[in-house]
Symmetry: C2
């Protein structure tokens, strides 16, 4: 019997979840839900319906886990608690500062509905958080470092596109190699924002726009660019479309610490990922945690959980016996 | 109130656990137990007793978690089930092929005694296993690769020392850089044993020994060296003592996989560690899981568990709330 998956929101992440469900042979896609007119949304999976979001409330019992693929700014704070009352849910809420509040909201509604809600699933928050936690538990005397990239930052790309005279643009966050090497050496460096990442911008200027002004506006933009070494490359729309249309990303979580009676021994733990598609990878993590949500719910558990609260074996199709003999 | 830790076996690992307990301020060392005459064993922690192993049975109620620091060949298969009947226990049983049987033995006795037993804790099995599992769950369509080193292999060093004419020796397992790079590129290579690791031996020959014969005996030793490219360096006892007395180790777990409707996107997940002291790092992982054993037992759980069965939050001192706001 397959785990019946519903997807709410069919952007890059929703499509990624659809692809992930295809790769997991214990799951099947039941329906995609959208705020758009459902007949305008074409999905990849044959013979699976697309419904308007208003249909969701009639689907209790037909979906084992609803995956929420909206944005963290306005969609998820409202949708995740709301639908946690009706379904087991998984989201990728990634506004780190608001996680505690989101957790409480989802917890209350999931408990009220007798469901499991898993929030903030993906790679950061998600796999990176797990690696910070495991490494911190193992090496209590040490420091954590997180680097992001090389990859496309959607927020920074949007910021570029709001600059006067800009027609289009993409921003890559790039870790500074010297900083990475210093951290890997275990030397435990203190690093400023500027020392850890550079920001590389590819910009298409409108005809007759003042490029020097654009470059200056970008480089001096507070919060987004002013605290970083930023490079701006002007290119044509054709080149942007051809070379910068992907959504790659990645990053590094490193902890260095010391052990021994006099802290005489050094250790470095590193986790890193290199992704061709940020949303598809996030979707794969979500699919694994959807399996966990289903199983926890089958066991009678209720309430909100994060990746910290879920034993790894729940993510896998295999039995405990199979996992012990094949992967331990 | 601290978690009261007992250590059985005071070799490199036992000493490492003692150091790890010192770094975790919610733990205290209650006693060290040894098969040796207890008065011949000097430990680092002031005012903590060393007892003969025969005293262990009288210590129920005085120890929250007993950490078993013996060897996997003969000590742990007997000790872990035996003491799981009396205490919550953690071991680092690392004979991969025998884990299922060991699990069953410990499970039966831990359940009989109402205790929690966590087996095969360390880095492989342990953290490497966890990373194989997480990455496999995330990228179902992909391949796992594990590389060990650069580090000292105790078993291979022992094998060298058994060769005729050898006075002393140390063996390093070294991952082949080209193989690592090929795996990291996501090209999903098929690699033979010889292509993944080389074996580097530092050997002290006895006076007048036949060095050519020693080198040939080592390189052709079945199982240990014959399937690898092996290099043998003859050095003096002084040089061996001076430059090769440490116990460094490390390694890499890498999974590459594909996502997308037509598997068009490539992803690489890597976990790697670089350790000055293999036993001290193993001990640190064990200490974190001792905390988990204590907490699970407090919740009324019983039986044998592995790293796969334990939610990450159990490893940390912090509350769920603290973890969510600081690490997620």
């Amino acid at each position: 019997m397959s785990i019946k998956i519903g997807i709410l929101g069919y952007g890059n992440l929703g499509k990624g979840v659809e692809c992930a469900v295809k790769q997991n042979n214990d799951m099947e896609l039941t329906a995609v839900f959208t705020r758009r007119a459902s007949e305008t949304v074409n999905i990849l999976t044959p013979n699976v319906p697309v419904y308007n979001i208003s249909q969701l409330e009639n689907m209790q019992g037909e979906i084992d886990v609803l995956i929420l693929c909206g944005g963290s700014a306005t969609d998820l704070p409202e949708q995740t608690p709301k639908y946690a009352r009706l379904f087991n849910v998984v989201d990728s809420f990634d506004t780190h500062a608001n996680i505690p509040k989101h957790f409480d909201n989802v917890d209350k509604m999931a408990k009220a509905g007798g469901n499991v809600g898993i929030i903030s699933v993906g790679w950061d928050p998600g796999m990176f958080s797990l690696n910070r936690l495991y490494a911190s538990a193992i090496l209590p005397q040490g420091s954590n470092y997180t680097f992001w990239g090389k990859g496309v930052s959607q927020g920074h790309s949007d910021a570029i596109r709001r600059v006067e005279g800009v027609q289009d643009g993409k921003q890559y966050t790039v870790p500074v190699n010297e900083a990475l090497q210093a951290v890997r050496s275990g030397s435990n460096p203190q690093l400023t924002t500027r020392q850890k990442h550079i920001r590389e911008c590819f910009v298409v200027a409108k005809e007759n726009a003042d490029k020097a002004q654009i470059e200056s506006d970008i480089k001096n933009m507070p919060n987004y660019f002013a605290d970083y070494n930023t490079t701006v490359h002007f290119i044509s729309q054709e080149e942007l479309n051809e070379k910068h249309s992907g959504i790659p990303h990645g990053g590094f979580v490193i902890r260095s610490g010391k052990t021994g009676w006099n802290a005489e021994n050094k250790h470095v733990i590193e986790y890193n990922i290199k992704l061709d598609s940020n949303p598809e990878f996030t979707a794969c993590v979500i699919a694994a945690y959807a399996r966990a949500a289903y199983r926890l719910s089958q066991e009678g558990q209720k309430g909100c959980k994060t990746v910290f609260d879920i034993a790894p074996a729940y993510l896998c199709q295999q039995t405990g016996e199979q996992l012990r003999s094949s992967m331990l």
